[in-house]
């Protein structure tokens, strides 16, 4: 193919001559906890024409810089000392949407292998480079990654813009001619078929590949399709084969557990998650799920260590939440370990103080624990804190958290707070029978069952009638009147799925009749956003979002 001694020179000349591969105008960030290493890395990039380089010495600093500057190339050491590791930096930047699709993220590690277990597969860097590396190797890898990015750029852009059909169209077209990236494109296309729920097409696609070559990702894709088609037993077979053949295919364990759960094999599901957690312990969501399952299966020791791992690895992660602390709380309560219960909750309050929804749940749980221990004064102190958080963050408190708070308030005889929350929950969820029945269960356990039930009935009936009237008006063609009514109603129950979605629909229908209108666009978006913020997204929300997007064009 080439002669290595001319390779280096020719390589660089080619890079400098090709504007798409030159890095002269590119914004670069080098993340390493050793200043010598940062300087050394920059020196290596000099030969490629590096001009604009920033440095970060830890994960927090890196995230701050990535948020402010739109980097083209990020070189990040995996091991950053205390604080976030390289994968957590990547995950967080990705999750917050700070990284543009054309950005090249290269992870520098001490090991040559074991990359699969370092981070979640949905969020992988463009390449890994093992230390120590020569400048020639870095340049070779950079150029290779830049070329690949370039070849797949239009697909990434369509993905980033959430235009799935466009992405499918481009990928299908690219597959008609062979290239170096054929397998990469095929892998993406398979995932697009899955995401767009084209299951028949996906089955055919993956089976065709597997008939020709053993491709683990194709088997994984086929298993996912079977899951969605509710062929859980077939799916388990595929995922378990995959974990036998490729021990480090971490997602296959997760999906096998998911299928086993669908088949109600909780013990088997727990085994799969435990196996995955042993190999790759840093995924917080997996540890939490393992804790949850083990708790249900009565294996408190396993649950405890899973939650402990989730807490430990979550400390510096953007994915830490109240889930692992509350799971741990349950385990400790069941064990009767009073001292640890309180220290766990204290740690949770310190760790989660910047996220009101999580903090509220932990503070409520603290009040609950004190209430159970006959420490009324302490319990009321925390209830007061919880109330403050609730009032200050109305609209972004999940229903589950509000329900817990209501229950605790009623338990501590704070009827005023309990009633406020119960009636707000009933109003905002007048269209959700499952939630209402849970709410009734809570109410029935208190000494105020009758009055509170009456409040629930009154609030829901009135709002249901309003919603009906709104729909009737729309159906009889009075869209403006319908919208007006639904808007008023949604001021009373801002988190109501029914009001917001129907109001958004009315806006869209009005625009379809009379043409696009900025104010209606804004209103529709606001209603859809409210549903999203309340965590009540469903199929209809997705359809309406799509309709709104189509109108904008």
């Amino acid at each position: 193919m080439s002669n290595a001694d001319i390779l280096m020179g020719a390589h660089l000349r080619k890079v400098r001559g090709d504007p798409q591969l030159s890095i002269a105008d590119r914004q670069i960030l080098i993340i390493d906890d050793f200043s010598d290493m940062r300087i050394a890395a920059r020196r290596m990039l000099r030969d490629l024409g590096e001009e604009n380089t920033d440095f970060a010495s830890n994960g927090k600093d890196a995230i701050d810089k990535i948020q402010r500057t739109s980097y083209d190339i990020i070189l990040c050491d995996y091991n950053l000392g205390d604080g976030k590791d390289g994968h957590q930096v990547l995950e967080e930047a990705h999750y917050m949407g700070f990284i543009k699709p054309s950005c090249l993220f290269i992870m520098i590690t001490a090991e040559t292998s074991r990359h699969r277990v370092l981070g979640a597969i949905e969020c992988q860097p463009d390449d890994y480079i093992a230390k120590p590396f020569t400048k020639e190797l870095l340049q070779h890898r950079l150029v290779k990654a830049l070329k690949k990015k370039d070849a797949l750029m239009d697909i990434y852009e369509a993905m980033f813009a959430k235009r799935l059909n466009k992405a499918i169209e481009i990928a299908e077209h690219k597959l008609t001619s062979k290239s170096r990236y054929t397998l990469d494109i095929a892998k993406l296309l398979g995932s697009f078929y899955l995401r767009s729920k084209q299951y028949e097409k996906a089955v055919e696609f993956f089976q065709k590949i597997l008939a020709q070559k053993y491709m683990p990702w194709a088997k994984f894709g086929l298993g996912q399709v079977y899951y969605h088609l509710e062929k859980y037993t077939d799916a388990v077979v595929l995922f378990d084969e995959l974990t036998d053949e490729c021990k480090y295919y971490m997602e296959a364990y997760d999906w096998s557990a998911k299928c086993n759960l669908a088949l109600n094999n909780k013990i088997e599901a727990q085994k799969r998650l435990a196996a995955a957690a042993r190999i790759s312990p840093k995924t917080i969501s997996r540890q939490c799920e393992l804790g949850e399952l083990a708790k249900e299966n009565g294996e408190l020791d396993i649950a405890g260590s899973a939650y402990r791992a989730a807490i430990q690895y979550g400390t510096h992660s953007c994915f830490k939440s109240s889930k692992e602390y509350l799971g741990m709380n349950d385990v400790l309560l069941e064990r009767g370990d009073t001292l640890k219960v309180l220290s766990n909750l204290k740690e949770a309050r310190d760790q989660l103080k910047e996220n009101p929804a999580d903090l509220l749940q932990v503070v409520t749980a603290t009040a609950d624990v004190h209430a159970g221990k006959d420490g009324k004064v302490e319990a009321n102190k925390f209830l007061g804190q919880a109330e403050k958080i609730y009032q200050e963050n109305l609209g972004s408190i999940p229903d589950k958290a509000a329900m817990k708070l209501a229950a605790t308030a009623l338990k501590l005889d704070n009827v005023k707070l309990g009633t406020t929350i119960v009636s707000s929950l009933a109003e905002n969820n007048h269209d959700d029978d499952v939630l209402l029945s849970k709410l009734r269960d809570i109410v029935n356990e208190t000494g105020h069952a009758d009055e509170l039930s009456e409040i629930i009935n009154k609030s829901t009936e009135a709002l249901r009638a309003l919603n009906k009237e709104g729909i009737r008006l729309a159906e009889s063609g009075k869209l403006k009147e319908s919208l007006e009514l639904l808007e008023q109603a949604s001021e009373k129950a801002p988190n109501s799925k029914a009001f917001n979605l129907n109001a958004a629909l009315a806006c869209i229908m009005l625009m379809k009749q009379n043409g696009v209108d900025d104010q209606l666009l804004f209103k529709a978006k606001r209603h859809l956003d409210r549903v999203q913020k309340a965590g009540k997204v469903n199929k209809r929300h997705a359809e309406l979002t799509k309709m709104l997007e189509a109108l904008k064009k």
Binding site: M1, S2, N3, A4, D5, L7, M8, H11, F34, D36, M37, I39, A40, R43, N79, A110, E111, T112, S113, R114, H115, R116, A130, K131, P132, F133, T134, K135, E136, L137, Q139, H140, R141, K144, L175, T176, K178, R180, T182, L183, A186, K208, I209, Q212, K213, Y214, M215, C246, K247, Y248
Partner: protein, 238 residues
């Protein structure tokens, strides 16, 4: 302390130590490159240093790999790779070291060839072979890849004097009797031991990998090959 937790502590210590040593090596490498950029004659003097740094690193990587292979539940981390890319990368990494030693590295690989392998381990094997070749060759090394009978064959050839006869004999005998290589007497033995383990770990479609040593290089010296089980069809039709 239970043996389980001891093992865990040992693994953590090993990983941290290696990370630390690798950081030091990376700094060495950087300083030498700075020196070389400043003055060509001084630079030449340090060429050997770079070669030695690579050797220290390769030893480290090999040690870690061998430890892991010996540990419970070892599994390959294999994936499909384009071989021309893989070889070009090795060439890029060796370019400077070999240039300093006035050795020419030639790659001979058809485009589009791909194979399922644990890249890190196979890299270690080729690295060891190139290191050896660099020591014994006169002027050039050929890095060659070809597909034959469902195997991918990766070879390192040189134009030196070839392997000494006793080494070839020993290797053949060990292969025939399937005995272990004696690692205690030389580093060459260690390299072979590692290469044979890596080859044997590559199993696919009912076939197992192997290594092969001859003096039948086209350019007159030794030829080391690792054969990896591969697909019959390299390309997929969509």
């Amino acid at each position: 302390m239970t043996s389980d937790s001891q093992k865990k502590h040992f693994e953590a210590a090993l990983a941290l130590t290696i990370h630390d040593v690798k950081n030091s090596l990376a700094l060495f490498l950087d300083r030498i490159e700075v020196l070389q950029a400043q003055d060509e004659i001084v630079g030449k003097k340090y060429a050997d240093f770079k070669y030695e740094i690579k050797r220290v690193n390769n030893n480290l990587v090999r040690l870690l790999a061998l430890y892991k292979v010996g540990a419970e539940n070892f599994a390959l981390q294999d994936d499909f790779y384009y071989i021309d890319d893989f070889l070009a990368e090795i060439a890029a990494e060796y370019a400077a070291v070999l240039q300093d030693k006035s050795i020419k590295l030639i790659i001979d690989c058809p485009e589009g060839l791909n194979c399922k392998m644990d890249k890190g381990l196979v890299y270690g094997v080729l690295d060891n072979a190139i290191n050896n070749a660099a020591r014994y060759t006169c002027s050039k090394i050929i890095l060659k890849a070809l597909e034959k009978d469902g195997f991918l064959i990766l070879s390192v050839e040189d134009d030196g004097k070839g392997y000494p006869e006793h080494m070839l004999m020993e290797n053949q005998q060990q292969e025939r009797c399937n005995t272990d290589i004696d690692v205690s007497n030389s580093t060459t033995g260690l390299g072979l031991f590692f290469s044979r383990i890596v080859a044997g770990l590559h199993q696919y479609n009912g076939k197992t990998g192997s290594i092969c040593m001859t003096n039948q290089s086209k350019i007159g010296g030794s030829c080391f090959s690792i054969c990896l089980p591969s697909d019959d069809a390299s390309q997929i039709e969509f």
